[in-house]
């Protein structure tokens, strides 16, 4: 059954993102929100990790990116931007949600 993993902490401050990546299996999804959206930005230390996670689909919450001044055209290739409704849809589509806090 596919899982939705969520990360709401900065990848540079806590290891929530790294742990999540370690557990996310192919076919599952990772949603980045709150300070977790910093992991979606290209050019940083997380880019290689996102690209290496084969078969894992990444999403980032648009309103949290906008609040932090992060431009949509700077996200890592393949990361999809969703709004709050998209967040809800993702949670509903997956059999369970695992939060990395």
């Amino acid at each position: 059954m596919s899982e939705l993993h969520t990360v709401n902490k900065s990848p540079y401050e806590k290891n929530s993102f790294d742990s999540c990546i370690g557990y996310a299996q192919a076919g599952s999804a990772v949603l980045l929100f709150e300070d977790g959206v910093y992991a979606a930005m290209s050019g940083g230390a997380t880019e290689a990790k996102v690209k290496a996670a084969e078969g894992v689909k990444f999403y980032a919450l648009g309103p949290d990116m906008k609040a932090r001044g992060l431009s949509v055209d700077r996200v890592i290739e393949g990361v999809e931007i969703v709004d709050y409704a998209g967040f809800v849809d993702l949670a509903a589509e997956h059999s369970k949600v695992v939060s990395w806090v």
Binding site: S10, Y38, G44, P63, K66, R68, G69, S71
Partner: protein, 136 residues
């Protein structure tokens, strides 16, 4: 400044909205500025995210306090150290940050840059020269 002026540094290491640290630091800086000490701010680790330009909290129901950093010059807080390594690790450059300035009253209000891009090594030396370092 009198000879008992102390050197105060505020060390900012947290991103702006996930926790309250950044806003609390800014408030303490503004209140503390009334004491006319030699104040500087350091932005290190996720603290560099505090002064990223283009912040817009309209959709997340939080106060966007990034414009307040532009008032620091009025409060005579004119030294904002940004650590180069922290920016680079996050894929950021100086161009991603707000253009923060202060006006020099002694030079007919000439506008000067507040942000000083420094290496970790340089910032460590600046820190060494402080009387007090407040961490947020």
């Amino acid at each position: 400044m009198s000879e008992d002026t102390k050197k105060f540094m505020y060390l900012n290491r947290r991103a702006p909205y996930g926790t309250i640290y950044a806003w609390e630091s800014l408030e303490v800086v503004l209140i503390g500025a009334a004491f006319e000490q030699d104040v500087s701010l350091a932005f290190v680790d996720d603290g560099v995210y505090q002064i990223v330009k283009g912040q817009d909290t309209g959709e997340v129901d939080m106060k966007n306090f990034s414009p307040t950093y532009s008032a620091l010059g009025d409060y005579e807080v004119t030294k904002l150290y940004v650590e180069k390594e922290s920016l680079e690790e996050r894929g950021l450059t100086l161009d991603d940050l707000m253009h923060l300035t202060w006006e020099d009253e002694d030079e007919d209000w000439a506008e000067k840059d507040s942000i000083r891009l420094v290496s970790r090594e340089e910032l460590a030396k600046v820190m060494e020269g402080q009387d007090v370092v407040f961490s947020f």
